[in-house]
Every structure is written in C-alpha cells, then in structure tokens.
C-alpha cells in the first residue's frame, strides 16, 4: 500500500493545454497532489472556495461568512492563492481606496491511477465576459 506521504513524489501532474475558445475551463501546471488534497480536505478551505465561486470576497467578508478568525482565513487564502486555486483581484471602494478580493479559479479536481502512478489534474475556471455579465446582472 502506498504511504500517503509519498503521494507527492509518486504523482505526476498533467499539463494539457485546453482550447480556451471553446472550453470554459483550462488546465495549467498543477500544485502537488498532496498540497491540493490537503487544502481541499480543510473545512475552512471548502467554505472559502464555495463562497468565492459565487462572488469575489475580501478576507474579512470570508472570515465573517465562514465563521472563522481573520488570521485563519488569511492563512488559508494565501495557501489557496499559492496553489492557484483562488485568484486575487482588486475592488474599488467608495472612498477611492481598493480592497483585495478573492475569486475561486478551481473548476474540478481529478485523480487517476495510471500505469502504477497517480495522476492528478486541476481544471480551472476561465471566467469570461459572459460570466461577469451574469454575475453583475444578478446583483441588480
């Protein structure tokens, strides 16, 4: 039986290039399987991903919505950004300053056992203008 700790060394990530013009999701070079799996197993991470998949959220909004401390949320968000599962954007405030907000980029996560090795693939959402229009229109 494979030791879970060795998964990262046994696994290989796929780096197929998706056709962005026809497919809403894309795959890029992935973080380690163990890194992504560990992140996804975390309850706070699941809540952060769920919340940021609908609307861009700031760390304080996430802390409030996920019922977690700002420190915890901040740490998880940084890990998600490093793993490229969440993207940072800026949102203008009424006073002229900007807030950092976060948007989930994860679309799906797939693990396959092929020829004695675990392969994993993280498909990422390629949000386009149609998604932005739908998101904005829903807010009215």
């Amino acid at each position: 039986m494979t030791d879970p700790a060795d998964l990262s060394t046994d696994s290989s990530s796929t780096t197929e290039d998706a056709d962005l013009s026809t497919d809403p999701s894309s795959t890029t070079e992935d973080a380690d399987l163990s890194t992504v799996a560990d992140l996804l197993a975390d309850e706070h991470v699941q809540r952060i991903l769920a919340a940021t998949s609908v609307d861009p959220k700031s760390k304080s909004e996430l802390a409030e919505g996920c019922d977690a401390s700002l420190q915890t949320v901040s740490r998880r968000v940084e890990e998600l950004v490093a793993a490229d599962l969440v993207r940072e954007e800026t949102r203008a405030r009424r006073d002229g300053h900007h807030d950092a907000v976060y948007v989930a980029t994860l679309d799906s996560f797939e693990v396959r056992l092929r020829d004695g090795a675990l392969e994993h693939e993280v498909a990422r959402m390629d949000r386009d203008m149609t998604d932005e229009l739908q998101r904005l229109w829903r807010k009215f």
Binding site: P24, M129, T130, D131, L133, Q134, W137, R138, F140
Partner: protein
C-alpha cells in the same frame, strides 16, 4: 444663417453612432446569449432578447424605413408606420430587459 455643422457631417455622424449603438448592443446580446446556452439562464434569455429587439431589430427596421423613403417606395407619411414599428420594438425590448432584472434565479 449658416448651419453649425455641414448637413453631410451631421448625417454621417448620426449614421455612424446609430450603427455603433447597434454593434455594441448586439455584442452585449451575444454575451447574454452565451449565458443562455451555457447555463440555460432565463435572466440572460430576456436580457439578450431585449437587447436584440432594442438595438438590432429597431436599428434595422429604422434603416429599412429610411431606405424605403429615400428610394420613394413609401411616402413620408407612411414612414410614420415604420416609426411606430421602431418604437414598438424598442418598448418591447426595454420591457424584456426590465423583466430580466426582476427574475429571481
């Protein structure tokens, strides 16, 4: 009194801006249509329908009306019927856009 701008310039600018409005409006309609096809969104269905009526159908009807008047197919009085059709298309389009705003998805 001499006109502020030559008539030809005014006519050309009006035509260009009308065509530009139709292009931009139909571009937004196309984005909304992609939302309909992708997510079967009713909100996007009414938005795209409204934009097509407001900018596409109304523009081409007005254009057709002008062409018919210019080539003496219809009289200036009959042009009012075309104008009524344009206003009807615009009103229906606006109603569809307004409805898309109140749909709860």
């Amino acid at each position: 009194m001499a006109p502020l701008l030559p008539y030809a310039v005014v006519e050309l600018a009006t035509l260009a801006l009308a065509a530009g409005s139709a292009v931009v409006g139909l571009f937004i309609a196309m984005l909304a249509l992609r939302g309909v096809l992708r997510d079967r969104s009713r909100q996007m269905l009414f938005l795209s329908g409204g934009m097509i009526l407001l900018f596409g159908a109304a523009y081409f009807t007005a254009l057709l009306g002008s062409a018919l008047v210019r080539f003496h197919v219809i009289s200036l009085l009959q042009q009012n019927v075309v104008l009524l059709a344009v206003r009807t298309l615009q009103f229906t389009g606006l109603c569809a856009i307004a409805y898309s705003l109140v749909i709860d998805e």
